[in-house]
């Protein structure tokens, strides 16, 4: 006890001053409204900016998980749009359609691209979803900007997708403004941005910058998904019945990362009628 007091007396007042001054200022900040508010305000600004700075650094650690969950949410929202649905009833006034007139035809599953090629004559992608996620062959794949390809093979965990940059790829597409159907193929091997829209009848008048979309006539994709825009039109030089239309894709397949796989819920019936089977 005596030694404790000795410490205080030997320090020559500084120790006592510091202790008592800190006590006084704590009392000020605790019991006086104005000072308390100023103190808490300044303290929270400082600690909030430190916490903010720290979270800016740590957010990178779970960025991947956040991206995956957002991609899933986007897939769900996209399948709410009318283009993914089937119109059951016909009304005179199209403005009067309600949700009961629509039946869900297409559902989307989000997926990530694990491997990808664009420079070969026949290009493929691998996705991180497989049979256990409900992915089977003959499902269309698209991303936020444009279309990507069609699933041709899948095992339990992964799926192989034939990219649209493939010599055998044929996508049923339409010029939106004219509602003109055609087939989208890849003829410019080595150029991953340009595809050709074939069988556009000569009597129709496509223009440069027209938007090309999926037609909805195939079971792989819903109609209305953007594909690209027209950059070149050649009135068919061989004197045939069709234009030769070059389309520049909206999406750059070399950077494709997050995609959506289309599941057509009506697929079975569609295939049966194509093969000539009758409904029971």
């Amino acid at each position: 006890m005596r030694q404790l007091i000795a410490i205080f007396t030997r320090s020559g007042g500084i120790l006592v001053f510091l202790i008592l001054e800190i006590i006084c200022l704590s009392l000020v900040v605790t019991f006086n409204k104005d000072q308390r508010e100023i103190y808490h305000n300044s303290k929270s600004i400082m600690s909030d900016s430190m916490t903010h700075g720290w979270s800016e650094i740590t957010q990178y650690w779970n960025l991947s998980a956040v991206n995956d969950s957002l991609s899933g949410v986007i897939a769900e929202l996209k399948q709410q749009k009318d283009e993914a649905k089937f119109l059951k009833t016909i009304q005179q006034d199209s403005a009067k359609y309600t949700t009961e007139d629509f039946e869900q035809q297409y559902t989307y599953t989000s997926a990530k691209v694990i491997s990808n090629t664009i420079n070969l004559p026949n290009n493929f992608l691998t996705l991180d979803r497989g049979i256990r996620d409900g992915i089977n062959t003959r499902m269309g794949v698209f991303d936020n900007q444009g279309i990507v390809g069609i699933v041709i093979n899948s095992n339990t965990r992964y799926s192989k997708v034939m990219s649209i940059l493939h010599r055998d790829s044929k996508i049923s597409a339409k010029i939106a403004r004219l509602n003109a159907l055609g087939t989208l193929v890849w003829t410019s091997i080595g150029n991953p941005r340009i595809m050709e829209l074939k069988y556009v009848p000569k009597h129709l008048n496509p223009k440069v910058d027209d938007i090309v979309q999926t037609s909805g006539a195939s079971s792989y994709f819903p109609g209305g998904l953007p594909i690209g825009k027209i950059v070149e039109i050649e009135k068919d030089p061989q004197g045939g019945n069709f234009h030769s239309v070059k389309v520049e894709l909206f999406n750059d397949l070399s950077t494709t990362r997050y995609v959506y796989i289309v599941n057509n819920l009506f697929k079975g019936g569609f295939k049966e009628i194509e093969e000539g089977k009758e409904d029971e």
Partner: protein, 173 residues
Amino acid sequence: MNNTTLTHSLRFIFLVFIQVLVLRQMTVGWGDFNYVHVMIYPLFILLLPIRIPDPLLIFLGFLLGMAVDFFYTSYGVHASATVFLAFIRPIALKILTPRGGYNINHSPNIKNYGFIWFLIYSSSLLFFHFLFYFIVSVFTHVYWLEIVLRTISSFTVSFIMILLYVKIFNPRD
């Protein structure tokens, strides 16, 4: 309880009561122009004997400040200023050491060291006390003009009052 302790204890009580009963109403009653806050209780610290140990001095400053705070319900505001005042008093005494040095038994007052000496001693310490008080009272650099105006006006009026008190009561050791 010897003579010195009794004198200083009475001075403590007297100054605190004058401060909280009389001078407090004066501040409030000035209306819009409330820059002048008259305070004479720091005189208690100024007049304590020279040989008082520093830690005890600071502790007495704390008691004085808390007593005034109790009546002003501004817990800790006056106390922080008086603790600071008690801390810098030995420094001021060291700077203002007269030619022959201090007499250990004396207190710093006019009878022992002269009017001019006391003027310099009390005005310098008092100014810093008021400055510290208003900084803690306002607590933000945004209202710096308030701090400056209040310090200058309160210091001026209080200093005059303190000189009057010393002239009237003529404190000895």
